[in-house]
């Protein structure tokens, strides 16, 4: 009975308190989300990635860095689920620990790029005038650049390494967030509640940060999730070229690069990390599509 009571409380058409309204909205969204099979698959994949990263030492069967030259280039077997690489390291264990690197990259890029884009876009949209023109001019310039090439050149200048790779990807991915934030801001810039808080003497900064930014978050979450696949691919590409994570870090792109020499005979060395990248990227795509359907049904493809 408690369950139905809870459900009725959550689905109440006229919530009595803020808390009830908030939880009710979350519950409705999760109901809609659960009905979307692909979105659930995406959620499971992303949760699995997080679990892998968190519990890597318990999930991995071997030490990801320990070399065993007697056991080099072994095909997948019961002992080595994905085989071993040219230094005898267990590929499954390296893929598991690689989840930490991938997760760290996507989180750091999101944490660096999304707030920067949000702030720039919301400021431009709210203030308008020449501030808008200058900020959006810069955004448009960045937006029409080839992202991958810019990231490559930037990492080349800063020096190879995972920190610089993250920085370079963040520098090239903020503009699309700025565009979205500006568009969102323009839709409710002239709303009554904004005017009300301006009349109460709130500063522009306070209005942007306190009222406008929170309203942009749901479309931003959707966009960031959809971008994750691209971020993962770019990071893996930098790793593959040798500009991203450096050895012996088990980064998936760098692992593929090492397996390149053996692709003809020991196919598993290069293909296995690739499957990990594809699975995780697809997971974020599915999750992002599902989130868009429930959080931001107006934008994007209707079908």
């Amino acid at each position: 009975m408690a369950f139905t009571d809870m459900r009725n409380w959550l689905l109440d058409e006229s919530p009595a308190s803020r808390r009830q309204a908030r939880w009710g909205r979350i519950f409705r969204i999760s109901l809609a989300f659960r009905g979307n099979a692909l979105a659930m698959v995406g959620l499971v994949i992303v949760l699995a990635l997080i679990a892998m990263a968190a519990f890597a030492p318990w999930i991995a069967t071997h030490d990801p860095i320990a070399q065993d030259t007697y056991a080099r280039l072994r095909p997948p077997s019961a002992a080595n689920w994905m085989g071993t690489d040219e230094l005898g390291r267990d590929i499954w264990s390296r893929v598991v620990f690689g989840a930490r690197i991938t997760l760290a990259i996507v989180i750091l890029v999101a944490v660096l790029a999304a707030p920067a884009g949000l702030l720039i876009g919301a400021t431009a949209g709210y203030l308008g005038g020449w501030v808008d023109r200058v900020l959006m001019g810069i955004t448009d310039i960045f937006l029409s650049m080839p992202k991958l090439i810019l990231a490559l050149a930037l990492v080349a200048a800063l020096g190879p390494g995972i920190e610089n790779a993250i920085l370079a990807i963040a520098v090239t991915s903020w503009p699309s967030y700025a565009r979205i934030a500006r568009a969102e801001t323009l839709t409710f810039k002239n709303a009554d509640f904004i005017a009300a808080s301006r009349l109460q003497g709130a500063s522009s900064w306070r209005i942007v940060v306190g009222h406008i930014l929170p309203l942009c978050t749901s479309s931003m979450i959707v966009r960031v999730t959809l971008d994750m696949a691209g971020i993962i691919l770019t990071a893996a590409g930098l790793g593959f070229i040798g500009l991203g994570a450096q050895p012996p870090l088990p980064e998936w792109g760098a692992m593929i690069a090492r397996g390149r020499t053996f692709i003809l005979d020991q196919w598993w060395v290069a293909t296995m990390p690739g499957f990990a990248i594809i699975t995780v990227s697809l997971g974020f795509c599915f999750l992002g599509d599902g989130l868009r359907d429930v959080l931001d049904p107006k934008s994007g493809e209707k079908h």
């Binding site: 001019g137 810069i138 448009d140 310039i141 960045f142 029409s144 650049m145 080839p146 992202k147 991958l148 090439i149 810019l150 490559l152 050149a153 930037l154 990492v155 080349a156 200048a157 800063l158 020096g159 696949a229 691209g230 691919l233 893996a236 590409g237 593959f240 070229i241 040798g242 500009l243 792109g253 593929i256 397996g259 390149r260 692709i263 003809l264 196919w267 290069a270 293909t271 690739g274 990248i277 594809i278 990227s281 697809l282 795509c285 599915f286 493809e301 209707k302 079908h303």
Partner: protein
């Protein structure tokens, strides 16, 4: 503007045509201006990237054992003693005159290197986009016409795969399967080593050059080498084009004029290709142009895998040798072509689409 007349298009007055042309010309001028501004922005970014290099360029020239006077002379010669803004203006001037500096690894002017490698990339990307359009558009139309069928599901999965599969990984797997196992295609490189350097480059496009020289053997050999990397690039543009075509078509098929056409008893083939497909042609041109620009960029990874002597390969070799002049030169060239294609497709859209006029 809307307040002047409630229906500006309802009663076209005399001179409305001229006004419209002037408006279109203004819009094209705007696009041209934004092209110039964006190109300047690109140059500014590469200039900035060139400045954040932790290596002192003057020190790189003279070596760290050089006496102070020599080091100072090198600084002056490179223009590093001038204010940043003067350095930037000089850089813009140099880029505009095609002076991209000397490559440390090849010992030749970067521009000369780029002239030699760019046609190879252009050849691969062009074949790639042709494959992408030839397959992607019909696939997208088909998927939209039979929404929900199993073919639609497959096409949707292909569309998503284009977002999730790393190009370099697909290239490696493609080599392992189609070259090593099945031996359907030739391996890395543009032609077999035996044919290398036999054709004098005229256009730089080996398919054209070999035909001009009448060397059909080399032509077919080059096709054997080109087909796999171009197909892999084509797969990525196909995924994007099919996805966009499907979405555009679904929008059109939901319109009332399609219902009218169907009610009139028109065959489904005519409804789809004559009625629904026509209006999406213009946005599709934009999509294809974007995809082409993306392929030029995406060829970096593919060229590395296939040892393709194009700009991507040139860039990665320069990256690993910290050859900054070559890196920035290649970045500038790819960026310029990318921006140019984008803006041209913008302009085309404005000229071709009657609704945008």
């Amino acid at each position: 503007m809307a307040t002047e007349t409630p229906f500006p298009d309802a009663a076209p007055k005399r001179g409305a045509g001229a006004k419209r042309t002037r408006k279109a010309a203004l819009r094209l001028a705007g696009i041209a201006l934004s092209l110039i501004v964006t190109l300047l922005g690109l140059i500014a970014i590469t200039f900035f990237i060139g400045r954040v290099v932790p290596i002192d360029p003057a020190l790189a020239v003279v070596g760290d054992r050089a006496p102070k006077a020599v080091y100072q002379a090198a600084r002056v010669q490179l223009g590093l003693d001038k204010p940043l803004i003067v350095q930037f203006v000089n850089y813009v001037k140099a880029v505009a005159t095609g002076d991209l500096g000397m490559s440390v690894s090849t010992g030749r002017p970067v521009l000369q290197d780029l002239k030699e490698v760019f046609p190879a990339t252009l050849e691969m990307a062009t074949l790639g986009i042709l494959i992408g359009i030839a397959l992607g558009v019909p696939m997208g139309v088909h998927a939209a016409a039979r929404q929900g069928s199993w073919t639609d599901q497959i096409i949707r999965v292909v569309g998503l795969a284009g977002y999730a599969i790393p190009a370099f990984w697909l290239g490696l797997v493609g080599l392992a399967v189609f070259y090593a196992r099945l031996q359907w295609v030739d391996g890395p490189g543009r032609v077999d080593i035996a044919y290398d350097g036999l054709v004098t480059p005229v256009t730089g496009l080996i398919l054209v050059d070999s035909l001009l020289a009448g060397e059909t053997e080399i032509f077919f050999n080059a096709i054997g080498h080109l087909v796999l990397p171009a197909s892999i690039l084509g797969f990525f543009s196909l995924a994007y084009i099919a996805r966009m075509t499907r979405s555009f078509m679904l929008d059109q098929l939901a319109q009332e004029y399609i219902v009218t056409a169907r009610v009139k008893g028109l065959p489904e083939r005519i409804v789809i290709w004559r009625h629904a497909f026509r209006p999406i042609l213009v946005p599709l041109i934009t999509v294809c142009a974007l995809s082409y620009a993306a392929l030029l960029e995406g060829s970096v990874m593919i060229e590395t895998i296939f040892s393709w002597p194009g700009i991507g390969n040139y860039l990665t070799v320069a990256l690993l040798n910290a050859d900054m002049a070559a890196v920035l030169g290649a970045t500038l060239l790819i960026g310029m072509v990318f921006i140019f294609i984008n803006k041209v497709s913008d302009a085309l859209y404005n000229v071709l689409d009657p609704r945008a006029r």
